[in-house]
């Protein structure tokens, strides 16, 4: 079985929802707006509002919840540890006590808030990566960074590096797998002490790099043959335009930020 079938790039889940069909640029800005809103204040009102928005987005994405659960699980321990540490170490009003462990009111409130915010940020960024393919994301990111070209940041070349990289990940993963198997067939065993193991990696690493250099050389040649000139603005095969959907999501983001700012003094806690 070829590795390109098993290596799933990113968390992208293909579908044709409204969010999927929105431009990557819009979605990146939207995610940024949501995250900034979450960090603007220590207000529970803002958090509940943002969770409301998040639920709408989750529904709009038409992606089964289990894909989101994967990234939520990754931070679950962090959230729990944050909560317990805060509950035990912050504040003075003891809420309940188990032996010498005293949970304090202020700490519980603060821990709950931090946990909620952490979950929100994780979910909000997962909405972006689940509904946008890595190629679109890289493209969108580069379009957003385009103004940096004025200060001589080579955005165009940078975008090319990312595109090549995305295309070659499965190729090289395949190659690496093949080389490891080939060397194992010749009797290589990856066991022993640390230094021994490192020395045993040589017959894997050297062919891998040699093959990568060769691929790069072929690729450079192929690019030049097709008329690639570094530093010249490239045209695109697929041209997408900003549509009504993009304007809608951008407006919604603006609204969320404004409401978050307006609510920042409601249901706050002070420490």
């Amino acid at each position: 079985m070829a590795l390109r079938d098993t290596v799933l790039i990113g968390q992208f889940v293909p579908a044709s929802s409204a969010l999927h069909r929105t431009r990557a640029e819009t979605k990146i800005l939207m995610t940024l707006g949501l995250i900034v809103s979450a960090f603007l204040s220590k207000s529970f009102a803002v958090q509940s509002f943002l969770y409301f928005v998040l639920i709408i987005l989750l529904l709009l994405s038409q992606v089964p919840l289990r894909f989101y659960a994967k990234s939520a699980r990754a931070v679950l321990w962090l959230v729990l540890i944050t909560f317990v540490f805060n509950a035990l170490l912050t504040g003075s009003h003891v809420l309940w006590q188990i032996g010498w462990l005293a949970f304090k009111l202020e700490g519980v409130v603060q821990g709950a808030f931090f946990g909620l915010r952490l979950f929100f940020v994780i979910f909000a960024s997962t909405v972006l990566t689940v509904t946008t393919s890595p190629v679109d994301l890289a493209d969108g990111l580069n379009n957003l960074l385009r103004p940096l070209q004025r200060v001589r940041v080579p955005v165009e070349e940078f975008s090319l590096i990312m595109t090549i990289a995305l295309r070659f990940i499965p190729v090289l993963a395949d190659e690496a797998d093949r080389i490891v198997k080939a060397q194992k067939a010749r009797g290589l065993t990856l066991s022993g002490g640390v230094m021994q193991r490192i020395e045993k990696l040589i017959p894997i690493v050297v062919p891998l790099f040699v093959s990568a250099f060769m691929k790069a050389e072929d690729l450079a040649l192929a690019m030049e043959v097709r008329g690639y000139v570094p530093g010249v603005r490239r045209s695109k095969y697929k041209v997408t335009r900003f549509g009504v959907r993009d304007i809608g999501f951008a407006f919604m983001t603006l609204l969320v930020v404004v409401v978050s700012v307006a609510l920042r003094e409601v249901w706050t806690f002070s420490l």
């Binding site: 290596v7 790039i9 990113g10 968390q11 995250i35 900034v36 960090f39 931070v75 962090l78 944050t82 540490f85 805060n86 035990l88 170490l89 603060q110 931090f114 952490l118 940020v121 994780i122 960024s125 990566t129 890595p134 994301l137 890289a138 990111l141 070349e157 940078f158 090319l160 590096i161 990312m162 595109t163 090549i164 990289a165 295309r167 070659f168 990940i169 090289l172 993963a173 190659e175 690496a176 797998d177 490891v180 640390v194 193991r197 490192i198 990696l201 040589i202 690493v205 050297v206 891998l208 790099f209 040699v210 990568a212 250099f213 790069a216 050389e217 690729l219 450079a220 030049e224 570094p230």
Partner: protein, 269 residues
């Protein structure tokens, strides 16, 4: 900076190789956690093409890595942990084209070691000074009143934070310089060629560590309760992440560098 088709093609392929190595966990050590060879292609690229392209490739890798395995708790943390941390691996490119003999490398390592110990001593003396000032202010606070008292209090807070921060900084500098010095001596002892691979790798590793360290501080100061020193926790944690990866890359790169230089016929030099 990036005006060479061959370089661009190689940059893309090296980023892909890093990601592939990270997926497959090639070279994962026992009990290694997330230690894999992902840094190796980035270091090789920086050593071949220099700092500028190395930085660009690191940033590209960081962004793509973040698309695969996003861990976002704070906007600043994101920038520090992904584009910047991996971008700074490109600092390894400083060693590009340098010709340094073993003796010079060892001498440099000794200078770094001595400088580290000196800085540690100096900072620790500073801590003693601060402690003296703290006790002086506490004793004068007993007699002070009104506005004077509040001014002394703010001074005291300032000094207390200094007393916390200085020793941490001193320890981190000491450990980092010790390890960097040892790594450079090890590298100089292992290699039989003139390119100072070890200097590049150490610089790249330190760059990555610095970015993760600051990001850890941002994170811990956001989420950790009061009473924990965020600088110290971040330093220890990130040290355990970055140092093993760097040393694995260094040990391997020292062994394979001559073969890689021979393999790249379209040599940039």
């Amino acid at each position: 900076m990036l005006r060479n088709t061959r370089m661009l093609a190689e940059a893309g392929v090296m980023v892909a190789l890093s990601l592939a190595l990270w997926y497959l966990n090639v070279g994962r050590l026992p009990q290694g956690g997330s230690i894999s060879l992902q840094m190796l292609p980035l270091l090789v690229f920086a050593l071949r093409w220099g700092v500028g392209p190395g930085l660009a490739v690191g940033v590209a890798y960081g962004l793509l890595h973040s698309l695969q395995d996003l861990y976002l708790v704070h906007p600043i943390q994101y920038v520090l942990d992904y584009p910047l941390a991996f971008g700074l691996i490109g600092l390894a490119g400083i060693a590009k084209g340098l010709r340094v003999s073993k003796g010079v490398s060892v001498a440099l390592a000794l200078v770094i070691l001595l400088a580290g110990i000196g800085l540690y001593q100096y900072t620790m003396n500073g801590v003693l000074d601060v402690n003296e000032q703290i006790s002086a202010i506490t004793s004068s606070m007993a007699t002070a009143t009104g506005a004077q008292l509040s001014e002394l209090q703010s001074q005291l807070e300032d000094l207390n934070s200094k007393a916390q921060l200085f020793p941490v900084g001193a320890y981190v500098v000491l450990v980092a310089t010790l390890l960097a010095g040892l790594a450079i001596i090890y590298g100089a002892w292992k290699r039989s060629y003139k390119t100072p691979v070890e200097l590049g790798v150490v610089l790249g590793g330190l760059g990555r560590f610095a970015a993760h360290w600051v990001s850890g501080y941002v994170f811990f100061s956001q989420y950790a309760p009061e009473g924990m020193n965020p600088w110290l926790y971040s330093a220890i944690y990130n040290f355990l992440v970055v140092a093993p990866s760097t040393f694995l890359s260094l040990a391997l790169l020292l062994l394979v560098w001559p073969a890689l230089e021979r393999a790249s016929s379209g040599n940039p030099h």
